[in-house]
Symmetry: C2
Subunit: 109 residues, 2 copies
């Protein structure tokens, strides 16, 4: 995945009927996973839920785990752990970037 891909991946524009087509989940399931705080759709002015491609991917992962009998509670923990791991890696990269920039500067003097 590229970096600038995010603009489309994270825009909340897909209504529940299309998410249903995309994931094969029922509307009931999709709304329930929101209730359990696994996904966070936005709303239109009138209250219709809007999801992102990222949400759709998360839902497909949830579906896989549910098939393996994993409870939503557990899934939430797993997602939190993965998020932490990603953030840690990102933080590391940024520090490395800062160091590189620093040494480039000192070498140029």
């Amino acid at each position: 995945m590229s970096v600038d891909e995010g603009s489309y991946r994270d825009r909340k524009v897909i209504v529940i009927g299309v998410v249903k087509e995309l994931t094969g989940l029922s509307e009931r399931q999709i709304r329930y996973y929101e209730e359990r705080k696994l996904i966070f759709p936005e709303r239109t002015a009138k209250g219709t839920r809007k999801y992102s491609f990222s949400d759709v991917e998360t839902l497909m992962e949830i579906a896989n785990k549910r098939e393996d009998g994993v409870q939503t509670n557990e899934i939430k923990k797993e997602m939190k752990a993965e998020k932490k791991k990603r953030n840690d890696l990102l933080r590391e990269e940024m520090i490395r970037g800062q160091l590189n920039a620093h040494f480039r500067n000192t070498n140029n003097r």
Copy 2:
């Protein structure tokens, strides 16, 4: 824009109400530009139109040109010309790629 970004850019998943929010155009306008063959939404099983982010961007370009008084007919020609230009560039790149691959091979012998 990156290459793998396309997967999200071109997926037809956005219903007309959201496209309306995104572009500021009326539903009437959006459907009319389809009638004039400027955009090509897909349909759900029940007939609801679904647009891609790419369609949304095209619609915004159309909106700009319409504000300048350009007729849909003209806009269509312009879009066709741009598409040809893109294809020509792409073709050129591919030929270049083929040539490079060829010379790399002959040099390795």
